[in-house]
Symmetry: C2
């Protein structure tokens, strides 16, 4: 086994020496990661982020999921919403609507600085991964946040109202259209951004954060070289279920699963990851699913997965790491 | 003579039928124009604006003088400062400085929407004159605000600290460097924007607003076809002095004149415009300059030029139009 900590008992001291690579979507992932960095030093954490949700608005490049992770780990995020900047104002957006724009995407004034700076860096010739590194550095983050790919990759919702870019579906249309299919435009040619495969190879534990498996983790796994590496990896690969008692804790994962003919449950998530997943952290409320998930060859750990505060975020991260380590002992 | 109002006595009714074309800089011009539109319907007014001060900041195209005129005439301008939007916040700028930018240029959040939208329009292939028209239309302006040129034209200050872009000199360095020369980069090849020559030809009165003759009106007159048209024009061309009793009412005009070896006075302004100016509106405090200005072949009208409120702005605009009309009767 590739773990550096052999025979460890999963004590806090041991966990603090782990190198962790995490695949992350938005709010759910950010909360989990916020807990994780209470246990593992930021320097030891690589986050592979989702860019399928990216959009260009008013000429600005916006990366909603990367920003949610960045703001959360930098302590800037609006706690109530889970996205945007705490205490932000919306004066620019109000003026943009006076100029005739539909202000469907709620861009705060402080938040705008991120998009202005990112767009400036991209126009200067940087890749999205280089621009993200620069933004994170400026905000004092030591976590390595790497977009899954520097290539063009966009999540498209094929709906009963036609093709919708992810944010159009998610924000503008409030997830109301019926989802017929989900397509990752550009995925066929998308290469992992520099550092993605390396961080997965160097990690002691690989975590799939509690994010929408189709819309948030899906675009990352759609980068073929990433999924291929996970399938071949000997590392403990652990996922945290974003579905509890058949309901998504956040976002439309359950609704989308139903519309795609899948049963919204932790079991379905396990099936979506079955080609590489070794350990699955499932909420105690879903204990009855344990036998079915284990039939897929995936070890199940039951715990409380509701991350209502930092204590619970930290506890979940700790249980997840311990479960990964135990599976490899 | 080209006036449509022959034998008019300059009554309000007559003035309201005039077509006016005005060459304008920033704050002084905007105040004058604010008074003008109390007398002449907005539809009858064309403003030829200065783009020599334009700059690109954080990837955004900013046109400070055009915006001052636009915000003032739309009733949005910050009254105390004379620029920016009343009641604006600066949250984006604060965040940009967190990202490492020097926040020397005071961009408000509402103001930013203008630059974001302008940049978006320019990136979409519009010219600066088309983008300006669109911005003004969205803010409900009926005045035709036309940038002097769609070509690249930038005011460069040759100073004891080297070459400085105008806003670097004006805002970042607070006009402290000594001015050795002023250069209008690109002026040789600059063509008037569509509508500029037409509005000057169609106007009953051409006004040079009380703006810095070197730095604000200078870049407009540096477009050769504009100055050539003024020289040949048979229309009443009237200027309002921005210098009162040897001092600029706003900005560094007096300081710059001194540094360039010119005496800061209304007479110097008249000399700078002598090749086309017919009537000069000078402050009553400068009555002693009348004979010298008239020796240049320019008619002088003395009045109170301090525009401390809308009543005085309107009175000055009325006196200016009346002086222009009288000179042609």
């Amino acid at each position: 086994m590739g773990l550096k900590i052999e025979g460890g008992d999963g004590s806090v001291e041991d966990l603090a020496r782990l190198k962790v690579a995490a695949l992350a979507g938005g709010v759910g992932a950010a909360k989990f990661l916020r807990g994780l960095i209470e246990i593992v030093p930021q320097e030891n954490v690589s986050v592979i982020g989702n860019v399928g949700d990216d959009l260009t608005l008013y000429g600005l490049h916006i990366s909603p999921d990367l920003d949610i992770v960045m703001y959360t780990l930098a302590g800037l995020v609006c706690r109530e919403k889970g996205w945007g900047v705490e205490g932000d104002s919306f004066n620019c957006l109000n003026m943009l609507s006076r100029y005739g724009f539909d202000p469907w995407f709620k861009l705060g004034d402080m938040d705008l600085a991120t998009h202005i700076y990112r767009t400036y860096l991209l126009k200067s010739g940087l890749t999205i991964s280089q621009a993200t590194l620069e933004l994170c550095k400026r905000l004092g983050l030591k976590v390595k946040l790497i977009p899954a790919t520097d290539s063009y990759l966009r999540t498209i919702i094929i709906s009963n109202e036609g093709r919708l870019a992810f944010q159009e579906y998610f924000v503008k249309r409030r997830c109301e259209p019926k989802v017929l299919d989900v397509v990752f435009e550009g995925a066929d040619r998308a290469e992992p951004a520099p550092g993605v495969l390396e961080s997965l190879e160097e990690a002691d534990v690989i975590v799939l954060c509690p994010s929408n498996p189709i819309l948030s983790i899906g675009p990352i796994l759609a980068v073929k070289a990433i999924r291929r590496l996970l399938r071949r990896s000997q590392k403990p690969i652990v996922a945290v279920s974003p579905i509890v008692a058949g309901r998504a804790l956040k976002g439309p994962a359950d609704k989308i699963m139903l519309e795609l003919g899948l049963k919204p449950s932790a079991l379905t998530v396990a099936e979506l990851y079955r080609d590489f997943l070794k350990v699955f952290v499932v909420d105690v409320r879903d204990g009855d699913l344990k036998p079915e998930v284990e039939e897929l060859g995936i070890e199940v750990v039951l715990t409380d997965t509701i991350m209502s505060d930092l204590t619970k975020q930290t506890a979940l991260a700790r249980e997840t790491l311990k479960a990964a380590l135990r599976s490899h002992m």
